[in-house]
C-alpha cells in the first residue's frame, strides 16, 4: 500500500514536471490554445465558388473567424481591426489568410461574400457551406451561432462567437484572439508565430 502511494506520488510529480521540460513556447500576449483544439480541417466553398479544404491554406498562418455580411456591428469592427493587423504586418501579410466563415449561408452567396471581403484586403477569404458542413466546423471549434426570428421586413440577425482562432502554417491551433485585443497585439503575436 505504501509503495503504491509512493508510486502515485512519483507519477503526480512527473506529470507536473514534464511540461516544464518541453521546448518553451515564445511568450504570446494572446490566449494560447495549443493542444486544446483539433487541427484546422473543413470542407467549404470559397468566394469564387471553388470547393476548398484546410489543406489549400497549409503554409499560411490562418485566422479563422465566424460572422455574416449583414452583421451590424461585431463583424465589420473585427474585420476592420484585422485589416489594420495586415497593414501593420506589411509584406509579411502575404503569409497570412483570414478565413471569414459565414454563419448565414442563405443570404451570403459566394458573390456577396467576395464583394464583402474584398473591401478588407487581399488576405481575406469568404467561405460558406451548407448547414451540415457549417455545423461540423462549429462543433469542431466549439462555437455556437443562433439565428434570431426575422422582423417584419424579413431581416434577421445571427448571434455568433467573437473568437478569432489562429493556426500556424501546419494547421495547428495556436492562439485565440477575442474582442478587446488590439491590432497591435495581434500583429506582434503573428510576427512571433512566424519567427518561432
Amino acid at each position: 500500500m505504501i509503495t503504491l502511494r509512493r508510486g502515485a506520488l512519483a507519477l503526480a510529480f512527473l506529470a507536473l514536471a514534464l511540461p516544464a521540460c518541453a521546448p518553451r513556447e515564445p511568450h504570446f500576449a494572446l490566449q494560447s490554445v495549443s493542444g486544446l483544439l483539433p487541427r484546422l480541417q473543413f470542407q467549404l466553398t470559397d468566394d469564387n465558388g471553388r470547393a476548398v479544404t484546410a489543406d489549400d491554406y497549409r503554409g499560411k498562418l490562418v485566422l479563422l473567424y465566424f460572422g455574416y455580411t449583414q452583421c451590424p456591428d461585431a463583424c465589420p469592427t473585427t474585420l476592420t481591426m484585422l485589416a489594420s493587423v495586415m497593414h501593420r504586418l506589411g509584406p509579411q501579410a502575404a503569409n497570412v489568410r483570414v478565413l471569414f466563415v459565414t454563419v448565414d449561408p442563405q443570404r451570403d452567396t459566394s458573390a456577396v461574400l467576395k464583394r464583402y471581403v474584398a473591401f478588407f484586403g487581399p488576405q481575406f477569404v469568404g467561405l460558406r457551406g451548407d448547414d451540415s458542413a457549417l455545423t461540423t466546423l462549429t462543433k469542431r471549434y466549439r462555437i455556437a451561432y443562433h439565428r434570431e426570428p426575422p422582423d417584419h421586413n424579413g431581416y434577421y440577425a445571427v448571434d455568433h462567437s467573437s473568437a478569432i482562432f489562429i493556426f500556424d502554417t501546419a494547421g495547428r491551433p495556436r492562439l485565440l484572439a477575442q474582442e478587446g485585443d488590439s491590432a497591435q497585439t495581434i500583429a506582434q503575436d503573428l510576427q512571433r508565430l512566424t519567427a518561432s
Partner: protein, 292 residues
C-alpha cells in the same frame, strides 16, 4: 419531426455512455422480473428512483441539452447539479445493486467470480479496491466532492474544459462517478457498506460542513460584478442572454439547490439512524414505564 429528432439525438455521441445506460436499464429490468418471480417485488419507489436517475444522467449527457450546456453557463451548472447531486442521490436511494445482480445471467455471475480469482483480474480488483477505499475515506470523499466543483470552476480550467472536448468529457465523467461514490458513502445503509461504513452522526456532520463551501462559491459567482467565465462570450452563447444574468443564474444554481441537497441528505441519514436504532430493540437507555 426533424426538430424533435434534433433535440433528442446526442450532440456528441458517446458509445460508452449509451452502452452503460442501456446495459444498466436492461439488467435492472431483468432483475425486477426475476425477483418478482421469486416473490420479492421491489415496490414502486425504488425502481422509479433508479429509472429517473438513469434517465436524467442520460438526458443531460446525450441529447441536445449537452449542446446548450456547452454554450450557456447556467445550463452547464444545472447539468452538473444533475450529474453530481440529483441523479446520483436517486440512484443511491434506489439501491439497484442486488436487482442488477439478479438481472445478470447466472453463467455471467459464475464466470465473473472465476475471473476475479485469477491473474491479472485478481490484482486489478485489488488495485480498484484500494482506490475505492481511498476515495471512500470519510475525510477524502467530501474534500474530493467539493474540490471537484471548485477545480472545474477555476476560470482558466473552465476555459480549457469548454474548448478541449476531451477535458470536457473528463469533467462530466468525473462529476457523474464522484457523485455516485460520494452519495453512496453518505446515504447507503451501514450494513450495505461493509468495512467502509461511516457512522450516521459523522455523515450528518459531513453533509452539513460540505454545504458551506458550496454556498460560498455559489454566492461569490452569483454576486460577482464582472464576468468570470469569458469562454461563453468568446465561443458564443446558445441564445441571447446578458452575460451577467447568465453568471448570476449559474451562481444561484451552484448555491441554493446544491446546499438544499445537504438538507435532503441529512433527513435521509436521520431516518436511517432512527430506523436502525429501532431495530436494535429496547436498550438499557430506554425509559421504562413507571411501575410504582
Amino acid at each position: 419531426m426533424h426538430a424533435i429528432l434534433l433535440y433528442v439525438s446526442p450532440w456528441d455521441f458517446s458509445p460508452t455512455v449509451a452502452l452503460i445506460c442501456a446495459a444498466a436499464a436492461l439488467a435492472y429490468t431483468r432483475g425486477l422480473r426475476a425477483l418478482g418471480a421469486q416473490g420479492r417485488p421491489q415496490g414502486f419507489w425504488q425502481p422509479f428512483a433508479f429509472f429517473l436517475g438513469l434517465a436524467l444522467d442520460y438526458a443531460v449527457l446525450q441529447t441536445y441539452y449537452d449542446y446548450l450546456s456547452q454554450h450557456m453557463f447556467w445550463v452547464h451548472r444545472l447539468q452538473h447539479l444533475v450529474l453530481h447531486h440529483l441523479a446520483p442521490v436517486l440512484l443511491v436511494l434506489a439501491a439497484p445493486g442486488p436487482v442488477i445482480a439478479a438481472g445478470l445471467p447466472a453463467s455471467w455471475r459464475v464466470r465473473g467470480r472465476e475471473l476475479l480469482g485469477r491473474a491479472p483480474f485478481a490484482g486489478l480488483a485489488r488495485v480498484v479496491q484500494l482506490l475505492f477505499r481511498i476515495v471512500q475515506n470519510p475525510l477524502i470523499a467530501p474534500l474530493l466532492f467539493v474540490g471537484l466543483i471548485f477545480f472545474w470552476l477555476i476560470p482558466a480550467v473552465h476555459f480549457g474544459a469548454m474548448l478541449d472536448i476531451d477535458r470536457y468529457r473528463a469533467m462530466n465523467w468525473g462529476m457523474a462517478v464522484d457523485g455516485i461514490l460520494f452519495w453512496w458513502l453518505m446515504l447507503a445503509p451501514r450494513r450495505a457498506q461493509g468495512q467502509a461504513a461511516v457512522g450516521y452522526p459523522t455523515r450528518i456532520l459531513i453533509v452539513c460542513l460540505m454545504a458551506l463551501p458550496q454556498i460560498l462559491l455559489g454566492a461569490y459567482i452569483a454576486l460577482h460584478s464582472t464576468v468570470l467565465f469569458d469562454v461563453y462570450g468568446i465561443c458564443g452563447r446558445a441564445w441571447n442572454l446578458a452575460p451577467l444574468t447568465d453568471q448570476e443564474l449559474g451562481g444561484l444554481l451552484t448555491w441554493i439547490p446544491a446546499a438544499m441537497m445537504s438538507g435532503v441528505a441529512m433527513l435521509v441519514i436521520l431516518r436511517r439512524l432512527l430506523i436502525e436504532e429501532g431495530e436494535k430493540g429496547p436498550g438499557p437507555a430506554r425509559l421504562r414505564p413507571l411501575t410504582d
